[in-house]
């Protein structure tokens, strides 16, 4: 099975969106703050619906938030 890494720009986008707190992002996306922390630190790969909700909160496309780094 091919293994890849999911990089994300959540932290940067939070700060670019008026220094949004993790709690505010969590409330906007319907998850707990711990889940946002885990996503930011790369410990947890979110489901597609959650990835889209995060991207929509920032008003960008999902590929601007998450980037898959793996074998082609």
């Amino acid at each position: 099975m091919a293994k890849g890494k999911l990089n994300n720009q959540v932290r940067r986008l939070r700060f670019e969106n008026g220094e949004m707190t993790q709690q505010k992002l969590a409330d906007a996306t319907g998850v707990t703050r711990q889940t946002i922390i885990a996503i930011e630190s790369g410990k947890y790969a979110p489901s597609l619906p959650l990835a889209f909700r995060i991207a929509r909160t920032f008003g960008v496309g999902v590929e601007e938030v998450f980037e898959y780094e793996g074998e082609e």
């Binding site: 932290r11 998850v31 711990q34 922390i37 885990a38 930011e40 630190s41 979110p46």
Partner: protein, 148 residues
């Protein structure tokens, strides 16, 4: 801390409390060979019990923010893994409960019938403990998360 973490801590504390409370009559009956004094007949013990329950309810119900969900997809995943670990621990403990008495008592040894419910109860209590610990370990004991 979210609700899943808090529930796991509550289970862990309750388990440890039960172990301490149960250890007293167990030591009295089986080691000191005397009937224990009733723990719950004392007024302070009932007050301590209600204070513990009230504090636990406040602790469990308090949210990080009003919009915080009770659980999300990551909590679900963590709980599923914890159930799996707990299930595996039940099988390991059952196997140990079958093998260890044979080594201690030998091929023809015997154990009293009342020990069997204790073994079963003990296995499921330990499985509950494993479930709580598995949840806390997956969350990094609740202290390693960053702040932002």
């Amino acid at each position: 801390m979210n609700r899943t973490q808090k529930s796991a801590i509550f289970c862990l504390v309750t388990f440890l409390f039960c172990v301490v409370v149960m250890a007293y009559p167990f030591i009295s009956i089986f080691i000191l060979k005397s009937w224990p004094e009733s723990f719950f007949s004392r007024s302070w013990s009932m007050i301590a019990y209600f204070v513990f329950i009230a504090a636990s309810i406040i602790f469990l119900r308090k949210k990080q923010s009003p919009a915080e969900p009770d659980f999300d997809e990551r909590d679900d995943l963590i709980k599923k893994r914890a159930v799996l670990v707990s299930f595996v621990s039940v099988w390991i403990l059952l196997a140990a409960a079958c093998i260890i008495p044979r080594f201690i008592l030998g091929e023809t040894g015997a154990i009293p019938v009342y020990v069997l419910p204790f073994i079963n109860l003990g296995i499921f209590m330990i499985a509950t403990l494993v479930h709580s610990v598995a949840i806390l370990v997956q969350y990094g004991w609740g202290g390693k998360d960053g702040k932002g």
